[in-house]
Symmetry: C2
Subunit: 376 residues, 2 copies
């Protein structure tokens, strides 16, 4: 049986968890939390990192920091996970859905400007499959209209945006705020877990307070105030040291993990390119993006073709999955949406299929999957 | 050195974590999550339990389920952790603070009725130190005014309310909704972690949806719907299986943990009763409450006496701590509070001190602490 996903363990996870426990501190913001945050800040040029219990929680912190008030509008793609939307909806935002490109599930930058109103507060690009959105264009729109850019980088660890001069910037380092996921399906994992990235200095101080249940506890422990108390809204956004210790074992192996995932991705891509199956489109990596080998997906021509492929593979005990359903036509939002057709989002909802993809997927198994696809 | 707290490990935590990881599912709502939830439902008569990443998150779920709208009022004690308030404030509630009893930090039931207005939606009793609030009186007030009762049972695992006829009901099983904490300072721990308890059948279905990011995923996996999608608001409230596996090791030893903690508590109480130090008041356990040995606290006569005691013990490398600061006079809320003096809450803010209390605290060490107190 080839499952869709299999969480990979480096072998050091329980060792570090035991170490965390021995320190006598397993609640949040301890040694491993700091080690993880320092790594991400140094490795990817993020100004300030704060681990969270999930990417959803990191997005909620973004919504609070962006000071979203009831009625404020936030522009997000319809083809995304529900968390991108609910994090802002919990703050009272009206979510305005944008379509994807025809050949790429990312938000179509050409469709954003017409959605901006005086109530728009933020644009939330989602780097689908870890492939960069057109961040130059999005930042320039945000500057023009004085909007915040919040990167939903859930899938985008160790992926980059490439400027025209070849300069690379890590995804998550470009927007004012960003959110990452370490859910078990991601490249590096902690079971459930996430991270807020603050790139705009204006938000650093408040982010620490909101993270610690609205208290100035961080300042207290740095000796900046005499006692700590309740100074703001917030929540318990910080994860246990048990989670951070698990994540640290993954971080130590990120290069090896990324090399192996890239090898799998390249094998899928190269072999399928050779096969040239007319009904199957392959992922498109724009010139301004790198590939972090988060997932490998195919796009079929219609839902029937996709169902046929999924069933064909399942009969061979290979387990692909489809992905998001357009949020604008969900039960929760269809009556709140303004009625615009979002054809490309619907296309990916109906036609995209994710192939099995995980560290321990053997190249022999990849070829077995490819053979099964070619039989169809 | 005798610290204030030391997280206790039963020794099986990393074993169960490894087992969880081997199942290939370390995100939320797996085997260990179900085992923990089933245990609590069966052991304490809770209708429906859902593990959460923190007690704060469980309280946020309560606020969503209670359908708190901007301007709705919620009555909570001022002498509590900030999470009791912010969970409701994030939903837009106005928090109305009530005072404590003179001799017990719990909410003074006699002071609640005058705070009820047509906008009041809920009363949130906090079982301080795991000692029951007067739940009969609170439930009867709630019935009279058609209010919800949300128990903040953060400290109250394995503690009970005793009816006049001697019948015991577990704290957390009485209100419409309840929230528990498994933070590293609690009787049983998971680093950071919590649990929502739903006792009112009306909220069970929606609780599952809100827990899973506003999707009907739980129904899908039970085969009740054909596909799952976005149907409501929500968040990523569920913790990793890594956290649930840790908690399971604690649950297995809850009897042993409770026996040991009760022994420590009784030693503190009996010895201090004998000492009869005029400036020190001991905890009061009302006739309708049991004691779950969550903490041992003393109440001094003023803040100077308390500071003197804390410093005296610290000089002997014993580390007591004071506890909450009245929320109504916090930097965040003092201008929003209606100006009522809450003298008892302030008294506990200034005069209460928590003595070292943890499973591995030896009775010899307890006697050493008691000797140091008696020297003062």
């Amino acid at each position: 049986m080839i499952p869709f996903n299999k969480p990979y363990l480096t072998g050091q996870e329980t060792h570090y968890i035991e170490d965390a426990v021995k320190t006598g501190k397993i609640s949040g913001n301890g040694k491993y939390t700091k080690m993880c945050q320092d790594f991400f800040e140094q490795q990817y040029g993020f100004k300030k990192c704060l681990l969270t219990t999930s990417c959803t929680d990191a997005l909620e912190m973004c919504a609070i920091l962006a000071d979203i008030q009831p009625g404020d509008e936030v522009i997000i793609p319809s083809y995304t996970f529900v968390s991108t939307a609910i994090a802002f909806i919990r703050q009272g935002a009206k979510v305005v859905f944008a379509d994807s490109y025809y050949d790429n599930p990312n938000i179509d930058v050409g469709k954003i400007e017409s959605l901006i109103t005086p109530k728009t507060k933020a644009i939330v690009p989602v780097h689908y499959a870890g492939v960069a959105c057109d961040m130059d264009a999005i930042m320039s729109l945000a500057n023009k209209y004085n909007l915040l850019v919040i990167e939903d980088a859930a899938q985008a660890i160790d992926s980059f945006h490439v400027n025209k001069d070849g300069k690379k910037r890590a995804l998550g380092s470009i927007g004012h705020l960003s959110a990452f996921s370490f859910h078990e399906t991601k490249n590096i994992i902690a079971g459930e877990g996430g991270m807020l990235v603050v790139n705009d200095e204006r938000f650093v101080h408040r982010a620490e307070i909101i993270w610690e249940k609205g208290t100035n506890r961080a300042e207290f422990f740095r000796g900046e105030v005499n006692k700590y108390g309740w100074v703001d809204t917030g929540s318990s956004f910080l994860p246990s040291e048990v989670i951070a210790a698990f994540l640290w074992a993954q971080i130590e192996n990120i290069k090896d993990i990324q090399n192996k995932r890239n090898e799998i991705w390249d094998t899928y891509y190269d072999e399928l390119s050779k096969l040239k199956i007319p009904s199957i489109s392959l992922p498109v990596i724009p010139s301004y993006a790198t590939n972090n080998a988060h997932m490998f997906y195919l796009v079929l021509q219609n839902i029937d073709q996709r169902t046929k492929l999924i069933n064909h593979l399942k009969n061979k005990d290979i387990h692909p999955v489809f992905h998001y359903l357009s949020l604008h036509s969900s039960e929760f939002y269809k009556n709140k949406h303004d009625g615009r057709a979002l054809a490309n989002s619907d296309k990916f909802s109906n036609c995209l299929v994710r192939l099995p993809f995980y560290y321990e997927l053997d190249i022999v198994e990849v070829k077995q999957i490819l053979n099964s696809i070619s039989e169809l």
